[in-house]
């Protein structure tokens, strides 16, 4: 075992992260830093080494935080250990970001030299301040023709109040001035504090399931020392295990070492089978000599968005269950439980942090596990106060009690911050009003840019709010939100009847004020999606027994191939086979065949 840990001086460790608005160049700067420190040759560097899931690379976002330890020979002649802790880059993963930040002592804040400060620049900066991080600003993309580093410098000083006298002006893409960033990390970010002899206190900021090692827990050691054989306790889940291995993060690999001491960042394995025992934000301590209290800030992550996932082929139900189990090993925030639908058969009601999280999971199930899925419309969790005083958390619209048993319905509200240039303020305010937003004020960040604050019902923003925001601001608006509270709301369950039969998988919950419009659009959409069949098919939207909208799919009139040419049966057969395939992709509801994609159509109702 290569072990340098005895030689590592605590005052030569720097634990930091990089924070930025999306697309301001976080992953690219991480690549350059790793490259500069000489652990990888250029050829070995995959583009953006930190984002190692295919999906992440395609979407250009970081979903699971990755972390790397690098060695930097600074200009003062000393060798420094830099632990770069990567953070996820999307609002769905806000809590994970906050835990990653808590593991750091400083943060490099990237600001785009053309775009300047954006909503997430501010959001991330405030988050870093909450964790008392030393923030090192950096202006990126100075090589672009549209770059205005002087203006952006001024903006950072005015808006955030950070001194930009010697701010590094860099191009991460072209490797310009990366050493200035490294020098500032060494000199401005403080060394970690903590005492290696105190009782053990580690923060879990991520975990990963490995089929050989079991769960690998990513930790920052705040106090004490952990090594092989230490009996550790997870303070929130109360699980206890003996440490099998500790180590640090080489680029793309785990490198075992003797021990992890106060101030260090590394991993622990302890034959832990279930990632749920190792919740992000939990504190790991020594079971024999526990610390007094856990580190602050732990909270159990709860899904915000639910939907039903069903295998297109009912026989694949066990495959879907196995796939979800495997995904959950790496993703404690994914929740699922079995459910059945009259329309779709056996499947799972799954909970996600947000719609992006849902998208990512759905794509991974389809791509990595080869599953063909039917997804029902995503919804949020409603709180139902029943007449008998009990409270029900409603994740599946089909389970909504009869209105006579309901005293009050409540829906989740989020606080949103939208940054937008002055010209589009009116458009965006209009959008927020349409989505039942409650105005909470506006600040001008600078003469041309405003930060709008709204409280918005979560169910108004989970579908297409972000797209609408972008289209109404020509791409200039940026958006961030966090859960605020549950508030009473007038909500109704909208049922869809196809050929007079209610299709449970198409029911959804909607604010009473927009129920009629949604019902009408839903019927129109389904009319487009359901192919004509032998008989006329009425499609109706209903609230309780009241029909609020109706469309009709006309009966199939003609489907006949008259000419059969020269005994060429195979041509005719191919045509029939194609038709049969089409029927297979349908779900039989009573007499009617409904295409699988129709179950997602509720998502596209707001296309304009």
């Amino acid at each position: 075992m290569s072990d340098l840990s005895e030689d590592i001086r605590q005052d030569h460790i720097r634990n930091f992260c990089i924070i930025a608005h999306i697309d301001h160049g976080k992953s690219t700067l991480a690549d350059r830093i790793i490259e500069k420190t000489g652990l990888l040759t250029k050829r070995e560097m995959q583009d953006q080494v930190l984002d190692n899931m295919d999906l992440e690379r395609e979407r250009g976002i970081t979903i699971k935080a990755q972390t790397v330890r690098i060695i930097y020979n600074a200009k003062d002649g000393d060798e420094y250990i830099l632990n770069l802790i990567d953070t996820p880059g999307h609002v769905d993963f806000n809590y994970e970001v906050s835990r990653a930040l808590a593991a750091c002592d400083g943060a490099v804040l990237i600001v785009d030299a053309s775009q300047g400060i954006e909503a997430q620049t501010l959001g991330n900066y405030y988050l870093a301040m909450e964790h008392d991080l030393e923030v090192v600003p950096v202006i990126n993309k100075i090589d672009l023709p549209s770059a205005e580093p002087e203006r952006v410098k001024q903006e950072i000083e005015d808006v955030i109040g950070l001194d930009c006298t010697d701010v590094p002006l860099i191009s991460a893409k072209n490797g310009i001035n990366i050493d200035q960033v490294l020098e500032q990390i060494v000199h401005r970010i403080p060394a970690p504090s903590g005492d290696r002899n105190k009782p053990l206190q580690c923060l879990i900021f991520d975990s990963l399931y490995d089929s050989y090692k079991g769960v690998i827990v990513f930790v920052r050691v705040f106090e004490g020392t952990v090594k092989k054989g230490t009996r550790i306790r997870f303070m929130a889940t109360e699980a206890e295990e003996e440490v099998v291995e500790v180590g640090y993060f080489g680029p793309g690999q785990f490198i075992p070492c003797e021990e992890l001491r106060a101030g260090m960042v590394g991993y622990i394995t302890a034959s832990i089978k279930n990632v749920r025992d190792t919740r992000v934000g939990d504190t790991v301590t020594d079971a024999q000599r526990p610390c007094d209290k856990p580190l602050p800030g732990y909270r159990k992550v709860t899904p915000m968005v639910y939907c039903g996932l069903y295998p297109a082929d009912g026989a694949k139900y066990p495959d879907l269950r196995d796939a979800l189990e495997k995904l959950q090993l790496n993703d404690a925030s994914l929740q699922y439980e079995p459910e059945t639908s009259a329309a779709l058969g056996f499947g799972f009601r799954c909970g996600f942090l947000g719609l992006l999280h849902l998208d990512v999971i759905q794509e991974r199930l389809e791509r990595e596990y080869g599953l063909d899925l039917v997804t029902t419309a995503p919804g949020v969790i409603y709180k139902v106060i029943k007449t008998d005083g009990s409270v029900m958390m409603l994740t599946n619209p089909s389970n909504m009690p009869d209105p006579s048993e309901i005293t009050e319905m409540q829906e989740p509200i989020v606080s949103a911050e939208i940054m937008v240039t002055k010209d589009y303020v009116g458009q965006i305010m209009k959008l927020c009003q349409e989505r039942r937003g409650v105005y909470n004020g506006m600040e001008y960040i600078e003469a041309n840019r405003a930060l709008l604050k709204y409280d918005l019902p979560l169910n108004e923003i989970i579908y297409d709010f972000f797209d609408a925001l972008k289209s109404r601001s020509r791409g200039y608006a940026s958006f961030d939100y966090e859960f605020k509270d549950y508030e009473p709301s007038k909500l109704v369950k909208l049922d869809i009847l196809v050929n007079k039969e209610q299709v449970d998988a198409l029911s959804f919950i909607v604010w009473a004020g927009s129920a009629e419009e949604r019902g009408r659009k839903m019927c129109q959409k389904l009319k487009e999606e359901i192919p004509r069949q032998l008989f006329e098919i009425p499609i109706q939207a209903a609230i309780g027994s009241r029909i609020i909208a109706r469309e009709t799919v006309k009966a199939l009139r003609k489907d006949v191939l008259a000419k059969c040419y020269g005994g060429d049966i195979s041509r005719k057969k191919k045509l029939l086979e194609k038709q049969k395939e089409g029927k297979k992709r349908m779900r039989q509801i009573g007499n009617v065949e409904i295409p699988q994609k129709a179950f997602m159509s509720v998502l596209k109702l707001d296309d304009e």
């Binding site: 009139r557 006949v560 049969k580």
Partner: protein, 380 residues
């Protein structure tokens, strides 16, 4: 099953004077040298096939399809027929059909065909309205149909089919009615009525805006049923979705396709059914012209499983007006059709698209309109 008793041979002639606007069949105008070379290859295929098919017993139908078999010199047809007689057991009373364009029928050709043994003609009239004919890109006129028909009768052809298309661009019931009247005035033994189908890649599909509008689905169905009623009133019995005949004059070759009797398809792109194997020849003319082994041109060889054959029994047999006999299924496969297709049969009977009478299952009128929708359910 019955396929042992009656056998057929199909000969494909992939040449025509000019491509019609709606046509996506394997056919095109070609220089004479190519036509000659094609017949050499065809004769070779006949000989080689007969050496392989020594058991292929009495042939009761021969069908020259195309393309336009009537376009090529009659001597070529005679050459093929004598090659067939040399190499196969062609029955004396075999039905021997030749497809032709009405504009290509003259006395010499007709008597040469007759002398060669052709005893049934199929005339691609398509319409009796010159404006419609021009629109379709046909090379003939309505007058030529009448002339050709009269000459054929004079030459001794007493078994003639006329093809008629409906749902033509701009057509309505009234213009269709005129066509039906003109057709039945000639009193052919057999009538085929096809709906124009818009096929991808055809001139019509690619220049649709230049044509009068195609009738909608409802209008097309109305025309179809109008034709059926009209022809039945004039003594033509419908025996298949698109085919009508005076009593005893149904096309045996055509029926054999739906009854899964064996047939050998010879020529470019031709299909065969033999020993529960479906074979389709290459569609590449140059490949066909220079073949040395039959395996060189047999592009698509599909061995039918028992399930495939059972499915075919239904989805082909149901195209016949009389439908399929459950007893024949039992005899052919030694299996109970209800055990295999029970749910499908029940569903479609409930929907009113299939009927049952005296142990036969058939498409109802409604089922016929949407037959593909029904037939695909019989696939394995």
């Amino acid at each position: 099953m019955t396929s042992k008793e009656q056998r057929g041979i199909y000969i494909h002639i992939p040449f025509c004077a000019r491509k019609c606007v709606y046509c996506d069949f394997l056919s095109a105008p070609r220089p004479d040298t190519v036509v000659r070379a094609y017949f050499d290859a065809l004769i070779r295929e006949i000989r080689m096939t007969s050496r392989e098919e020594t058991e292929y017993g009495p042939v009761s139908t021969v069908f020259f399809g195309g393309g336009t078999p009537g376009l090529v010199p009659a001597a070529f047809i005679a050459r093929v027929l004598s090659a067939l007689r040399e190499n196969f057991d062609i029955r004396q009373d075999a039905e021997i059909t030749l497809e032709t364009n009405p504009g290509l029928m003259d006395e010499q050709k007709l008597s040469a065909w007759r002398a060669a043994g052709v005893n049934r003609l199929s005339m691609g009239a398509q319409s009796f309205d010159d404006r419609e004919l021009r629109l379709l890109g046909r090379i003939h006129t309505a007058a030529q149909v009448r002339e050709g028909f009269a000459l054929a009768r004079k030459a001794g052809f007493d078994n003639i089919n006329i093809d008629l298309m409906e749902a033509l661009p701009g057509q309505d019931i009234r213009s269709l009615q005129k066509n039906l009247e003109a057709l039945t005035a000639l009193s052919p033994e057999h009538v085929s009525v096809y709906s124009l189908i818009l096929e991808d890649g055809t001139y019509l599909a690619e220049h649709l805006p230049e044509f009068p509008p195609l009738p909608g689905e409802d209008a097309e169905r109305a025309m179809y049923w109008h034709s059926v009623r009209f022809l039945e009133k004039r003594g033509y019995r419908q025996y298949e979705i698109s085919n009508f005949a005076k009593p005893g004059r149904a096309c045996l070759h055509n029926v054999s396709y739906w009854e899964r009797r064996e047939y050998l398809g010879l020529g470019l792109g031709a299909s065969s059914l033999r020993r529960e194997t479906r074979i389709t020849n290459t569609q590449d003319l140059s490949e066909y012209l220079r073949f040395t082994e039959l395996t060189d041109i047999r592009k698509d060889v599909t061995h039918l499983t028992r399930q495939d054959a059972q499915a075919e029994f239904f989805y082909l047999g149901l195209r016949k007006k009389e439908g399929v006999s459950l007893d024949e299924f039992r005899d052919a496969f030694g299996a109970d059709p209800l055990a295999i297709y029970g749910p499908v049969l029940v569903k479609h009977r409930k929907d009113g698209t299939l009927g049952e009478d005296g142990g036969r299952i058939f498409l109802t009128r409604r089922g016929l309109d949407v037959s593909n929708y029904i037939l695909c359910d019989f696939l394995p």
